[in-house]
Point group: C2
Chain length 371, copies 2
């Protein structure tokens, strides 16, 4: 096998979808996969099975490769520093990734930068939670995702499970939000940034259900503010690669930062089919220090609907039904076994009529989810 | 390695570009590659090195796989029949592929169907060529491509090399053409057809240099005639997968069939970035008997320019220059060593202003070809 251009740690669907633009750009990926047949390992020629928490496994996949990037945020910071010391550049670097790994660090740093956040505090006891006030959202600083590690606390007893977990916690105000937005940028090592249009992200049960790009009826001034905020965060934190800033649009017309992700993000999947350069291609370009591609949309509207594990268990058998129903739908399956609520694919439709695009994307995704 | 959904014979750039939509649709490709590091073998997890002229190698890659498709037309028909007899469906089948493999068979069959062709005849001697008349184009019936196996014969001595080759030949009239067009369709086993817009193909030295989609200023009646002709040929010959019908648009406003290709074709590469469903995705859908996707263009104009081996020998080092020059260019590199005139990549630009799109695509491709 010839020399790889970059190592990708983690074999989920994000790594899988990086392979498509890697093929176009002639970039060879060496993958560290959790198993021989995980989502990305199915589609990458050069893959190694290993554990991202074991330094020797990271070193093995990075051997001879100068750039290392990620499918997820879970590589321990000390391992990232060891890779960097050995001449393999982790992108984003550990000093940046920390703020996507640890919500306490993220809140402290954003507050220091004057970036608008919900009111927040570290909490270690029932007294701290009571002092913060109710209602609140209590979160583990590390390891939470898709609604896990998050508790809505309306009275003291709601915080008991969180406090019993014995891990660092923060409390945040329960924001009265109109909707959730996501502002994505790609950033190269030298500072070049490409801004994607700000999108609306619609959640169900703490998981992203659908994304509309651009966010409908968004005040242009607020859109500019959100995009500029994402660019500033990427620059101040020295992010390399894609940054997603998940935002609350408040009832009184402000944006507050909810979460940061330093990798391609579910709220940017629409860009594969709806933008000149997808978030996956721009992530690769950014981490490889290649000039960024245009993030311009290809049509007035793009709608992405997730395919979450539902009553359809044989996706392969159901695929023809969805393809026949919506011939202009772009279906993306992740090669994963269906489990209830698990992200196993997504559908994107682009076009000029938002109602039609939304209806078509939902229809195709529903056929893949529940038949 | 889990069971593959289809086998692809041949590891060139067409197989490589099939892998991108295969990833999206969750289709696993098993590849028969000419070597361990050929273009498609670099990007497909399940690949086997072997020779497409050796039946045992074809059987090995088809083991347990019900559908077999192709990167090229060079698998011997008797091997295709043997695969079919053993329960592996070659798509297209040998009865169809024959007409893309053998120009004599193609001319006989199209003539029988009343499909407009240049005047033609089998020739075996100098007397036959003289009787056909000058000027003529003499072609080997098998194995020619990109200008090889083709002689323009203006006087008897011009046919000497061809006649000395000792292989079957045809002579064709030297058509007075305005330009070359290409009409592509995808066709499923049951007969469903998707038509792509008819494009203009511009050749240099017998090799496709650039493609404009749709063909500019094409009489709508002639465009319809060309697309209907491609659909009829696909149907009559029972093609499964993509069919490209290369056409001459004559000075007096007719279309004549030049060549047939039963696979994704260079004149359809624009569709990766310029159509809702690329020719590679619709080829996979067709051979897997999945409903076809919309072949609608995403913008008014798409221009594809080939990157042919030129003075740039280190494509990787030159890539940033091209990406920086045209941030909206879609660059596709094939992972192949640069040799003079060899197809090593292509660039597509889409947009509403043909002059700008053409200039941008040419500029990016020129930077990758000659710096």
């Amino acid at each position: 096998m010839a020399r790889a251009h970059l190592a990708v740690i983690g074999g989920g669907q994000l790594a899988r979808m990086m392979q498509q633009p890697a093929i176009a750009l002639g970039l060879r990926i060496r993958l560290l996969a959790e198993g021989p047949d995980v989502s990305a390992a199915q589609v990458v020629a050069d893959s190694v099975v290993g554990d991202h928490t074991v330094l020797a496994d990271l070193e093995a996949v990075a051997e001879g490769v100068s750039v290392v990037t990620f499918d997820h945020e879970h590589v321990p910071p000390e391992h990232l520093r060891a890779l960097a010391a050995a001449g393999h550049a982790p992108r984003p670097g550990p000093h940046a990734l920390l703020f996507a790994q640890d919500k306490g660090e993220m809140r402290e740093r954003l507050t220091e930068l004057g970036v608008p956040c919900p009111r927040w505090a570290f909490v270690t006891s029932a007294e701290d939670v009571a002092a913060f006030g109710f209602p609140a959202v209590v979160k583990t600083t590390r390891g939470g995702y898709d609604g896990k590690g998050v508790w809505v606390v309306r009275e003291p007893s709601d915080a008991e499970d969180a406090l019993a977990a014995g891990v660092p916690l923060i409390a945040e105000e329960l924001v009265d939000f109109r909707r959730e937005l996501s502002a994505q940028v790609a950033r190269r090592p030298g500072g070049e940034v490409a801004r994607y249009p700000v999108v609306e992200s619609r959640q169900a049960n703490g998981v992203c259900a659908e994304v509309v790009a651009p966010a409908p009826d968004l005040d242009p001034a607020l859109a500019e503010q959100a995009a500029a905020l994402a660019e500033r965060v990427a620059t101040e934190l020295d992010v390399v690669g894609m940054l997603a800033v998940e935002l609350f649009e408040t009832a009184d017309g402000r944006v507050l930062v909810n979460e940061l992700a330093m990798r391609p993000h579910n709220t940017g999947h629409w860009s594969i089919d709806g933008a000149v350069t997808s978030q996956f291609e721009n992530h690769l370009r950014a981490v490889m220090d290649l000039p960024l591609g245009s993030a311009r949309p290809l049509a007035a509207w793009s709608v992405m609907v997730n395919v979450l594990g539902g009553s359809v268990t044989d996706l392969e058998a159901q695929l023809p039904v969805a393809l026949a129903a919506v011939p202009h739908a772009k279906v993306h399956l992740y090669g994963k076994a269906v489990k209830p609520g698990r992200k196993v694919g997504h559908v994107t439709v682009v076009g000029d009529d938002l109602d039609a695009v939304l209806a078509d994307a939902r229809r195709a995704a529903a056929l893949l989810t529940d038949g």
